[in-house]
């Protein structure tokens, strides 16, 4: 199973790189530009605050959602559109190897880029804004970015793959995916605004001091449940006959 997952990840990443006009162009646009923007330009512009701001873990743990969300529509709908899906399904690969391989490729890309840009950003800040001591993000910040980055990558990958499995074209998958993301963001904003003032204060307290770690653990558990539900949905939806006839 692991060897099959690696094979699918190899194929998916190679396709991703080649989809941007050749290997070099792909490396520049899918890895180079995001890394320069997120790991060099933004940290350089923001200075030492980049490492210490409490916004960093919030922004960086959700960054993969955007990175993966932009690519995931292609996963199955693209194979179907390019007429490569049936041949892949006729191979010896198991359902789970194909499905999880595609999810792993996408989640690995989003998560890897988030963690890499955090590391590069730290190097950039220390190199371009020298201080008396080394500026490093706190342990909690790193843990939040690593754990939530992975969970949000999985959220985007599993949800997007589920949508792509059902969509008849890449365009349709991309549209549904965008709407789902928009609904997620607007829903969160609307929920925050609709909370009574006393709840707002309690929520703020939950993210400060000794309550922070507990809140993070609860949020991580919630995300794990959602990810598991989406993965289960994708597993249930992945049926060779349906994929061929859709």
């Amino acid at each position: 199973m692991l060897a099959d997952l690696v094979t699918i990840v190899w194929k998916e990443w190679k396709e991703l790189l080649l989809s941007r006009g050749g290997l070099r162009g792909g490396l520049v646009s899918t890895i180079g530009i995001p890394l320069v923007m997120l790991g060099i330009y933004l940290p350089w512009q923001n200075g030492p605050e980049w490492v210490t701001t409490p916004l960093l873990p919030v922004a960086w743990s959700w960054l993969p959602l955007l990175l993966v969300g932009a690519l995931v529509a292609d996963s199955f709908a693209g194979e179907r559109e390019r007429k490569t899906l049936e041949t892949l399904l006729a191979s010896r690969l198991s359902d789970r190897a194909i499905l999880f391989g595609k999810m792993a490729a996408l989640a690995g890309y989003g998560w890897g880029l988030a963690v890499s840009s955090l590391l590069l950003g730290t190097v950039t800040v220390n190199a371009l804004h020298r201080q008396e001591r080394l500026l490093l993000p706190g342990a909690n910040t790193v843990a939040v970015i690593v754990v939530f980055g992975l969970l949000s990558s999985l959220l985007a990958a599993s949800g997007g793959v589920l949508i792509s499995l059902r969509a008849t074209s890449v365009r349709q998958a991309a549209q549904i995916n965008s709407l789902a993301m928009l609904a997620l963001i607007l829903g969160a904003v609307a929920l925050a605004k609709s909370l009574p003032p006393s709840w707002g204060a309690r929520l703020a307290a939950a993210f400060t001091g000794p309550n922070l770690v507990r809140t993070e653990l609860v949020a991580a558990a919630g995300l794990i449940v959602i990810d598991a539900a989406l993965i289960a949905g994708a597993v249930a939806r992945f049926q060779r006959a349906r994929l061929i006839l859709d």
Binding site: W10, E15, R82, K83, L88, S91, R92, A241, I244
Partner: protein, 313 residues
Amino acid sequence: MPEIVIRTEALTRDFDALRAVDNLNLEVPAGTIFGFLGPNGSGKTTTIRMLLGLLEPSAGRAEVLGFDVPRQADEIRLRAGALLEHHGLYERFSAWDNLEFYGRVWRLPRRERHARIEELLRRLDLWERRREAVGRWSRGMKQKLAVARALLHRPQIVFLDEPTAGLDPVAAPSLRQDLAGLVQREGVTVFLTTHNLAEAEKLCHLVAVISAGRLLALGRPDELRARAGLRAEIAARLVDETTLDALRRRAEIAAAEWRDGRLLVELHPGAELAGVIAMLVESGVRIEEVRKASLEDVFLTLIEEEKRCSPTS
């Protein structure tokens, strides 16, 4: 490997009200090139999909290499190669990378995989262009590469769904020749669907004719021709009524007709055409061309009969 590699018993597949495959009974012996002939929409692709475990039958059963369809579909796919309706190549990938990917899928060890890729690409004259993205290739070259992919892991059985469809008159025979050569060298059983009868006649040891999901005939190409009766079309000049009457009186002739400058004759089973030709020449007829009934004539006759007998026609 079992002697019979594909066995279907009353295999049926419905799509809502449409019966795509209807009570199909087949036996394909090991080591043969089995031609599955039928017009477009006759159920050929649906049959392949069922045999590969990609679609479940609505009724009946099938076995491939001794494994039950669809219960042991993984075992079948492990031992089978396929070139399906579409070539299924990753067009942004090079030829090498396409085969590299599927070589990894079939877990061929690195050294063996690379040697096998080189062997196939050289045999199919694609080696020099192995680093090019296949999206820029002609359809014929893509089909050749897809054949290489289907044979890469040395499968016991290969399913080829209309491999020469859409190829030009130069590319199609070239691919057919490559295919025949590869299949002979590899000793693999081939299940080939086509609506090109010349292709089936040249490549196949056994042929099944299917129409509207129903099996119309099964046998060697020469057997099928014999079953439909020996017919010949003779392009000739100077055929008069006397000669035609004399021809009709001959024992070996079942029917003879003069139409549009062509003499259409049907012989009784076992009769030889040579005596008929000699008699015509002696009668002063100038013969320009003699064409014996091909598999195509048999095929068209069967399809016509099927249409006449079909309750829906």
